[in-house]
Amino acid sequence: MSRSHRRSLAPYAFLAPAMVLFVAFLALPIGYAVYLSLRTVKVRGLGLGKGSREQVWAGLSNYSKALSDPDFAGSVLRVAAYGVIVVPIMLGLALLFALLLDSPRARVRRFSRLAIFLPYAVPAVISSLLWGFLYLPSVSPFHHVADRLGWDLPDVLSSGSVIFAVANIAVWGGVGFNMVVIFTALKAIPTEIYEAAELDGCGQFAIAWRIKIPVVMPSLIMTFVFSIIATLQVFAEPVTLRPLTNTISSTWTPLMKVYRDAFTRDDIYSAAATSVILAVATFVLSFGFLRLVQNRAFSQENR
């Protein structure tokens, strides 16, 4: 009796630490953020003394305030443009390198795999520091060489191109990881398939296009979803680059705006509302995309 009783409780015991931490550090904070986003502070009189500041129900006013804030709209548009630059280039390069690593035609594969994966080990803050110095005209090797040749290089940290400067850091840091994910999926394909395809007269390009890319599609989809989530949360890179240029405002990305509202302006209520909007956008984007590709996959199956 006691044994079977214990066995039925065992899985809960194994899951208990994870569930407790999940509730404490994920579920509870999410609930609290939603609660805060619906509250505001009402100030009585001069706002001095005890009881003069009171938290009250705010309805959706924090949301309407956040959505109509031009700073927020600006940061969202900037991050959208940033994502349009980063995600296709990063995943395109990751796929290209993974295919090359998997191709017997390329040499120096081991070295390249390590070298391209290496940036994953460099924290975003440190890579932003390094690239930041490489961007500074007084330090940059590109500017040094260009000066010798008498060329005039534009300043990448100027307002028009700073978005590319930040995007490059994200691409640099992300290509290797995504490459390894796709490469691992490629390794799962039995080599007999390639031999059969080659016997049938398939070239390497056709093999990549017809066999390899469809096989790694699920990995590509997952890396795409994770890249979107990461893009919406871009924070460390622009914050680190800020001291090097005056083209990055304190509300350059949505998360920077959340940080400013919460900790510089002491307005946690609208910061919470902005966070919730971003979270909903993340869910809609990632689930919407998964839904879309799922439908497409099924329609192919039916054919």
């Binding site: 390329a106 290496l118 520091l129 990549a208 001291p243």
Partner: protein, 295 residues
């Protein structure tokens, strides 16, 4: 530098089609371009940290100098070795946090993979949804909740939220399902072994290679984390490297002499992780979609 792909793909693949076998110089060249691009900042920091403050802005970027040890001494002298304290803090956050996170993930993943119980699918779905929760939503309420407990600006504020990793649990579940045979668990149970003993002495060793991957993931994630410690900590003696160096760069804007320390600090901060990567790189077999296809 990053936009070269589209034009370069075509010729490479055409070459491949033309030549049915053998070595493709284009494929090798593309890989090397990628490698050079990825190594460029690392090579730069290696060289730049050997320069004095004046040389950093006056000599050619890629010509090395002789001040590396002087720079390390300067950095060490900065506010009584604060940098090394950041280094130790980072090792503590990532090391302890990674270990605890792996243990919690392993137990949860094993429980999900090897038992059927009421609410199993619901539990897994809720945990999986956690993977998609952006750090943004969590940051502020986590800060406020920990502030209520008086834990902000302590080691706990960074350590505790780092332990729960929905993605780690997801991975651990896949590894447990693949590496621990049901028959073995049943046999041990018949022999009278308790659930925890089976987990500890049979399942954990079988899951070990996968758990190394989970640990590495969490270690790197915590080591790289910026937002959480940036929000939680005010006392710079508790900072990890990322927050410390970012603050140092901030000061460098008004005190350019600090720039050499920032550069040297960056170099020293990436060495441990690079070493870890080179030694453990065979564990980096990640297939994010493997479980998604199966379940």
């Amino acid at each position: 530098m990053t936009t070269i792909t589209p034009e370069r793909t075509e010729p490479a693949t055409q070459t491949d089609v033309r030549r049915a076998s053998g070595h493709s110089p284009m494929a090798t060249a593309l890989l090397l371009i990628g490698a050079v691009y990825c190594l460029l900042p690392v090579a730069w920091v290696l060289i730049a940290s050997s320069k004095s403050g004046a040389e950093l802005f006056s000599t050619f970027t890629f010509s090395p100098s002789t001040h590396l040890f002087g720079n390390i001494a300067d950095l060490t002298a900065y506010r009584g070795g604060l940098f090394w304290r950041w280094m130790a803090n980072t090792a503590l956050y990532a090391g302890i946090g990674g270990l605890l996170s792996t243990a919690v993930s392993a137990a949860a993943g094993y429980g999900l993979a090897k038992y059927s119980f009421v609410g199993k699918q619901a539990t897994f779905n809720v945990l999986l949804a956690g993977v998609l929760v952006p750090g943004v939503v969590l940051a502020i309420p986590q800060y406020l909740l920990l502030a209520k407990l008086g834990l902000t600006n302590t080691y706990w504020a960074v350590l505790l939220p780092s332990i729960i990793s929905p993605y780690g649990i997801y991975l651990a579940r896949i590894y447990a399902a693949a590496a621990v045979p049901d028959d073995l668990v049943e046999a041990a149970r018949t022999d009278g072994a308790g659930d925890f003993l089976i987990f500890r002495s049979i399942a954990t060793p079988l899951m070990a290679p996968g758990l190394v991957t989970v640990f590495l993931f969490q270690f790197v994630a915590i080591w790289n984390n910026f937002l959480l410690p940036y929000i939680m900590l005010g006392d710079d003696h508790l900072f990890p490297l990322t927050v410390g160096l970012s603050g140092l760069l901030n000061q460098g804007a008004s005190q350019p002499s600090l720039y050499t320390s920032v550069v040297t600090g960056s170099l020293l901060s990436i060495i441990p992780l690079l070493a870890l990567f080179l030694t453990l790189q065979r564990y980096w077999r990640v297939d994010l979609a493997a479980g998604a296809v199966k379940s």
